[in-house]
C-alpha cells in the first residue's frame, strides 16, 4: 500500500501501447476484448489509468489511497494468462476502484474518518475478493462521507470531492468518490455502498449508472457497518450492461454474512436483451410533489414517456406513506449507527487519544476521531434508543417502516417497476447545505424508501438541465428482481443513444 502523494512522481514510461482510446468512457467488454486481442496489456492499461488519476484527481479528489503494487500484481497475472492462452475471466484486466468503507487486506481503509486513518485491515471484503477473483484490477480506495454519513461527500475527514461535470458542485454522497471516479474515467467501474441513497444519488449527480441491489443480494462481509438493516453494496459504471456484469460477479450467498440471501443469481447480462414490451411501469404522484426541481420533473416525465413509446404500460400507483420516509429513516439509521459505531473506542485498532483512565480514553478518542456529522448521528440514535424515548421514536419508526414497505408490496401487485426521480435537484454547490443538516437529509427524499423496504433501485442518466448538469431517472423493482430492473434500464439507455 502506498499513500497517494508518495506515488505521484513514480512516472511510468516506455509502455508504448496507446491504451488512451480505451481510457475515456471505456466499457468492461471493450477492456476485456482489447486484452484478448492483445491490443493492450492489463499492465499497460493499469498504468494508463494511474497516469490519468495523477493528472485528473488533484482537482477532483475521488481517491484516498492507491494500491499500485496490488493492482500491478493482478494485472501481471492477467497478462500471464493471456500469454498462455488461458480463457480470461469476465472482468479480466478491468480497472476498478472501491469505496473506502470496504476493507482490503494490506491496503489502508479509513471509511473517510480520522479514527481509522492508520487502519490496515487483515482481510478482504467479500465483494472486493469476488471482483478480483473475476480478474478485475483494483486501483485504489475512494473518498466518501465519513462512515458513509452524508449526501455530498463534504463530510469526508480528508477532503471533499468535486463533481467532474462541474467542479464547483458536489458529486453527491456518500459514495461521491465512486461516482466521480467513473464520471472522470479514472476507473471503468467502482463499488459503493447505499444506506439511504448513497449509490443512486451520486450516480444521478455525476451522470453515471448506479445500482442498489435487493437487501441480501450482495454480501456485506467486510463492509464497515453504518446501519445494518439498511446498508447495501452495489456497483457504478458508465453503462447498464457493465453494472449488470459487476452485479453478476458480486451477488450471491456468502457463508460469512448471515444476511446474504440463499437466492439463485440469474445471468443479469443475458436477461438484458429480453423485450420490455408489455411491462407495467408504475408512477407514484408522491415522487413528483413539492420540492421537485421543474427541470428534473420534465426530464423524468420525458423518460417515462420514452418507456411508454418502448411498449411499456404506464400505470398510476400510490405510495401514500412516502412523506414519512425521511423521519423514519433518520431514526432507524441513526439508532443502528449509534450501536455499530460503539466499537470505535481506541482499544483494538484506529486512533487512540492519550488519557489517564479508560473512560476518559474512550471519550477523548471518539471526540478527536469522529467528525461533527458522525457525532450528530450517534447523538440522535442514542437519544432515540434511550429509556423513555424508545417507544416514541425507535418503535414508532419501525412501525412506519412496515407501512412504507406495505406501500411497495401493494404497488408491485399492479406493476413490474416503478419510475421516479433519483434526487429532487441536480448537483448542488459545495458548501450550500453544510450548515443545515435537515436540508442535507432532504436530498435523500426519493431514495431512502428503497432502503427501508429492501427493494432494488437503479439510477440512470435521463437528461441534463439548462446548465448541463446531469439528471437521473430512478427505477425500483420487486425484491430480487434486479433482472427486470436492469432490462428496463438497458432498453431506456439504448433508446436514448
Amino acid at each position: 500500500m502506498i499513500a497517494k502523494n508518495e506515488i505521484a512522481d513514480t512516472a511510468k514510461s516506455g509502455l508504448g501501447i496507446g491504451a488512451t482510446a480505451l481510457g475515456i468512457g471505456a466499457t468492461i467488454d471493450a477492456v476485456r476484448e482489447a486484452i484478448i486481442e492483445e491490443k493492450v496489456s492489463a499492465t499497460a492499461l493499469a498504468g494508463d489509468f494511474y497516469d490519468r488519476i495523477r493528472r485528473e484527481d488533484p482537482e477532483i479528489g475521488a481517491f484516498l489511497t492507491l494500491c499500485e503494487e496490488r493492482a500491478l500484481a493482478q494485472a501481471a497475472q492477467i497478462d500471464q494468462m493471456a500469454a498462455e492462452g488461458i480463457p480470461l475471466p469476465p472482468l479480466a484486466g478491468v480497472p476498478v476502484a472501491i469505496k473506502d468503507v470496504m476493507v482490503t487486506a494490506g491496503v489502508r481503509t479509513t471509511a473517510g474518518s480520522k479514527i481509522l486513518d492508520n487502519f490496515v485491515p487483515p482481510y478482504d471484503c467479500t465483494a472486493v475478493a469476488r471482483l478480483e477473483a473475476a480478474g478485475a484490477v483494483i486501483l485504489g480506495k475512494l473518498n466518501c462521507d465519513e462512515f458513509a454519513m452524508g449526501s455530498s461527500t463534504e463530510n469526508s475527514a480528508y477532503h471533499p470531492v468535486h463533481n467532474p461535470r462541474d467542479k464547483s458542485r458536489v458529486p453527491g454522497g456518500s459514495s461521491g468518490g465512486s461516482a466521480a471516479a467513473v464520471a472522470a474515467s479514472m476507473a471503468v467501474a467502482t463499488l459503493g455502498s447505499d444506506t439511504g441513497g448513497s449509490i443512486r444519488q451520486p450516480a444521478s449527480f455525476c451522470g453515471v449508472v448506479g445500482l442498489k441491489p435487493t437487501y441480501g443480494r450482495v454480501s456485506r462481509y467486510g463492509l464497515i457497518a453504518f446501519a445494518s438493516s439498511l446498508d447495501h453494496i452495489g456497483p457504478f459504471a458508465n453503462t447498464v450492461k457493465d453494472v449488470a456484469l459487476m452485479l453478476r460477479t458480486i451477488a450471491g450467498r456468502d457463508p460469512m454474512d448471515s444476511t446474504s440471501a440463499d437466492v439463485p443469481v440469474p445471468d443479469y447480462v443475458a436477461e438484458l436483451e429480453k423485450p420490455i414490451q408489455g411491462l407495467r411501469v408504475g408512477v407514484a404522484k408522491e415522487y413528483f410533489g413539492e420540492g421537485l426541481d421543474p427541470e428534473v420533473r420534465a426530464a423524468v416525465e420525458a423518460a417515462i414517456q420514452k418507456l411508454a413509446e418502448l411498449g411499456c404500460e404506464i400505470v398510476p400507483v400510490s405510495l401514500p406513506h412516502t412523506e414519512y420516509a425521511i423521519p423514519t429513516y433518520y431514526i432507524v439509521a441513526t439508532a443502528e449507527a449509534s450501536s455499530n459505531l460503539a466499537r470505535f473506542d481506541g482499544v483494538r485498532y484506529g486512533f487512540r487519544a492519550n488519557a489517564s483512565n479508560l473512560s476518559q480514553m474512550y471519550r477523548e478518542t471518539r471526540d478527536g476521531g469522529f467528525g461533527m456529522e458522525v457525532k450528530r448521528r450517534i447523538m440522535l440514535g442514542t437519544y432515540a434508543l434511550s429509556a423513555g424515548y424508545y417507544d416514541a421514536y425507535y418503535l414508532k419508526a419501525q412501525k412506519v417502516r412496515a407501512l412504507l414497505t406495505r406501500d411497495f408490496d401493494e404497488a408491485f401487485k399492479k406493476v413490474d417497476v416503478i419510475a421516479a426521480p433519483t434526487a429532487p435537484t441536480p448537483a448542488f454547490k459545495l458548501g450550500e447545505k453544510v450548515d443545515d443538516p435537515l436540508a442535507m437529509y432532504l436530498a435523500d427524499i426519493y431514495t431512502v424508501t428503497a432502503n427501508l423496504a429492501g427493494i432494488p433501485g437503479i439510477s440512470i442518466p435521463c437528461g441534463e438541465n439548462h446548465e448541463g448538469l446531469p439528471i437521473g431517472l430512478q427505477l425500483f423493482a420487486k425484491h430480487f428482481d434486479e433482472a427486470t430492473l436492469l432490462r428496463v434500464a438497458h432498453s431506456f439507455e439504448h433508446a436514448r443513444t
Binding site: 450517534i378 418503535l395 414508532k396
Partner: protein
C-alpha cells in the same frame, strides 16, 4: 417535546462522547430541528402495525418454513473438525494502538 441542554449532556454521556460547550450548543439546535421533522410520524396511527426491524426475514426465504427454520440456510453444520481458522493472533494485534504482544493494553481501569 423539546430536547434540553440537560438531555444533550446525558445522551453524550451514554454515547461516550466528550463534547465541547460549542458542540453541545450546536447539537441542541440541530437535534431540535431534526426531531421537529421526525415528530411528524405521530400523525400516523400505528396501533395495529407490527414493527419491522429487518428485511431479510421477509423476503428471499422459503415461505413454507416458519420461525427460525426460515433462516436455517444461514446456519452451518455443527462440526468438530474443518472449521475455518480464526484470524492469527499477531494479525489481530497488528492494528492495536498499544499491545504487549499478547494482549491489547489500555489505561488503568480500576483505581486503588
Amino acid at each position: 417535546m423539546r430536547v434540553t441542554d440537560k438531555n444533550v449532556a446525558y445522551v453524550a454521556d451514554l454515547a461516550n462522547l466528550e463534547l465541547s460547550s460549542e458542540e453541545l450548543e450546536r447539537m441542541l439546535r440541530d437535534l431540535n430541528s431534526i426531531l421537529g421533522n421526525i415528530n411528524r410520524l405521530n400523525e400516523l396511527n400505528t396501533d395495529d402495525v407490527a414493527p419491522m426491524a429487518q428485511v431479510s426475514d421477509r423476503y428471499g426465504v422459503d415461505d413454507a418454513r416458519q420461525g427460525s427454520e426460515r433462516s436455517a440456510y444461514a446456519l452451518r453444520a455443527d462440526v468438530k473438525e474443518g472449521l475455518r481458522p480464526s484470524l492469527p493472533h499477531q494479525a489481530a494485534l497488528k492494528n492495536a494502538p498499544d499491545t504487549d504482544g499478547t494482549f491489547f493494553e489500555v489505561p488503568k481501569v480500576i483505581e486503588r
